[in-house]
């Protein structure tokens, strides 16, 4: 275990003051490792809050470079970063916020060939991706590897998230397979209100911290959705599906799948 030094006791004092967290909880956070898939709209707030909270090791995977159109919501990247690899830009900010954090970067796509290997190095996975093929890939890889993860999706003025731990409902219990290519627009096609990324990403970061400290109840077997136009938040109860193709009684998926992506999503933004 990590022994907190004097600076750390000050840095993390607002966590330590919380009866449910305390020094013990803070040490759990500092011993934890998290993989954030996507250093974009969701990955930005997730990484910033997890770094500030003192997560011991944060992995970032994203193949993209920072584009001017990202800056409206991807608050970990600054104007000077346009053109830089996102993982490099994000790692620099994480280190600046909290030198305690060890950052590992992968300037790459997550796909069937590397997913299990990368995921296996972390205690918790955060889905901050912008497309269905990788959302399903993260789900399948985490179910196969027995890893907990947080799902996140945003679109226009809406967001949705749930947390999976081994044995609870997975993404395929809710959505069996990706929608037909092109049926559901992504943010790059339909737009998204910038602050929505922060709203959803901070919920995901809070779930990660709850998971490691054991505080409260996770969003397991529940899907939280919100509509920022009305600020209505709704929680749907969902059950682990007996017929779920990956975590059900007779699973039909035994290897990772690289689904086809909408052509316009493949463009670099």
């Amino acid at each position: 275990m990590i022994e907190l030094n004097e600076d750390q006791i000050v840095r993390y004092s607002r966590h330590i003051l919380l009866q449910d967290v305390g020094v013990e909880g803070q040490e759990k956070i500092m011993n934890a490792s998290v993989l954030v898939v996507g250093a974009g709209g969701l990955g930005a707030p997730v990484s910033l809050y997890l770094a500030a909270a003192g997560i011991g090791r944060i992995g970032l995977i994203d193949a993209d470079v920072v584009d001017l159109s990202n800056l409206q919501r991807q608050v970990i990247h600054f104007t000077k970063d346009v053109g830089r690899p996102k993982v490099e830009s994000a790692a620099e900010k994480i280190r600046a916020i909290n030198p305690d954090v060890k950052v590992e970067t992968y300037q790459d796509f997550l796909w069937s060939g590397n997913a299990l290997e990368i995921i296996s190095k972390y205690d918790f996975i955060v889905d901050g991706t912008d497309n269905f093929p990788v959302k399903f890939l993260i789900n399948d890889a985490c179910v196969m590897a027995g890893k907990p993860f947080s799902h996140g999706g945003i679109l226009r003025f809406n967001g949705q998230t749930f947390t999976h731990v081994p044995g609870s409902a997975c993404y395929r219990c809710l959505f069996k397979e990706p929608p037909p290519v092109g049926a559901v627009p992504t943010c790059s096609q339909a737009g998204v209100l910038g602050a929505i990324a922060g709203m959803l990403g901070t919920i995901q970061a809070a779930e990660v911290l709850k998971y490691f400290t054991g505080v409260g109840e996770l969003l397991t077997n529940k899907l939280l959705t919100f509509d920022a136009k009305t600020m209505n938040f709704k929680t749907f109860n969902v059950k682990k599906g007996e017929k779920c193709p990956i975590c059900g009684k007779n699973p039909t998926i035994d290897k990772l799948i690289d689904y086809e992506q909408a052509a316009c999503d493949l463009k670099k933004h």
Binding site: L174, C187, S188
Partner: protein
Amino acid sequence: MAKITVNGESKEVRDGITLKALIEESGVLQPDMVSVQLNEQFAEREEWDRTVIKEGDSIDFLYFMGGGAA
């Protein structure tokens, strides 16, 4: 009439209505975009027109949301 719950709100529907008809009548514009949960369990798309809604059923329409990074 049967009393059911749709997305958390109480609703009365005619007896014998199928899940498919309920989806159409509920104004779901793009059925491809939703996952339907019947009593908290995923309802297979192929079974929507064979599934008859019963008194007390709870139906939720969950929308695909794919955004996050780029």
